[in-house]
C-alpha cells in the first residue's frame, strides 16, 4: 500500500517536473510575440503620436499581456519616480532584475541593445532601432517555435519515463 502510494508520488512528481520544463518552452514564443506587439505599439507612440517616453511606456504596459507588461511598467515607473535617470539606465535596471519570463539570454540581449538607443535621439533614428529589434525578435520567435515543437513533447515524455524508471529501480 505504502509502496504503491510512494510509487505514484514519485511518478507524479517526475511528470510534473517534465511538464514545468515543457511549459517554459511553450511560453517563450508567446512572450516573444507579446514583446513584438509591445515594441510595435511603442514605435507608433514615438513616431506618430510623439508621446514622451515614460508615458508611452506606461501605455504599452497597460496594453501588453501578462508576463511582458511588468517589464515596461518597471521602466516607466523608474523613469517617472526618479528624475535624472536616463531611459537606457532604467531599461537596463528593469532588465537586470528581470521579470519572471521564460526568455533566454539571446532574447534579453536584443532588448538590451535596443534599450541603449531609446530616448536618446530623434524619432526617425529610434524608429530604425525599434525596427531592427523587431526583426531580430521575429527571427528569435521563429527559432523558439521550431524548438518548442520538438522540446515540449520530449520533456513531457522525459519526465514520465524518468519517473517510471526511478519507480522500477526503487521498487
Amino acid at each position: 500500500m505504502a509502496r504503491g502510494l510512494g510509487a505514484a508520488l514519485v511518478l507524479a512528481a517526475a511528470g510534473m517536473i517534465g511538464a514545468v520544463v515543457a511549459r517554459a518552452y511553450q511560453d517563450r514564443p508567446r512572450v516573444l510575440r507579446a514583446l513584438q506587439s509591445a515594441l510595435t505599439m511603442l514605435r507608433t507612440e514615438i513616431v506618430y503620436a510623439g508621446t514622451p517616453l515614460p508615458e508611452a511606456l506606461a501605455q504599452v504596459a497597460r496594453r501588453t499581456p501578462a508576463p511582458a507588461d511588468s517589464f515596461f511598467a518597471a521602466v516607466a515607473n523608474a523613469l517617472n519616480s526618479r528624475p535624472g535617470l536616463t531611459a537606457a539606465e532604467a531599461w537596463r535596471e528593469a532588465l537586470a532584475n528581470s521579470p519572471a519570463w521564460p526568455l533566454t539570454a539571446d532574447d534579453e540581449a536584443v532588448l538590451l541593445d535596443l534599450g541603449g538607443c531609446l530616448g536618446r535621439s530623434d524619432a526617425a533614428d529610434q524608429e530604425k532601432h525599434l525596427g531592427l529589434a523587431l526583426v531580430q525578435l521575429a527571427r528569435l520567435q521563429a527559432e523558439a517555435e521550431a524548438e518548442r515543437d520538438v522540446q515540449v513533447r520530449l520533456w513531457r515524455w522525459l519526465g514520465v519515463c524518468a519517473g517510471g524508471c526511478l519507480v522500477l529501480l526503487l521498487y
Binding site: V150, R153, W157, C161, L168
Partner: protein
Amino acid sequence: MDITMIYQIAGIGILIAILNIFLAQAGRQEQAQMLSLAGVVIVLLWLIQLIGRLFRDVETVFRWW
C-alpha cells in the same frame, strides 16, 4: 525468484525504448545512446546477482555427493 524481477526488467526496457525514440527525434543522438547504455548496465547489474545465485545453487546441488 519471483516474477516481479522479470516485470521490472521488461518495464525498464519499454520505458527506455520510448525515451530513446523521443530523444532521437529531438536530435539528441548521443544522449539517446548514453541512455540505452545506462539501461543495459542497470539490467546487467541485476542479472549478475541472479546469475551469482544460480551458480551458488548449482554448487550446493553438487556438494551433496
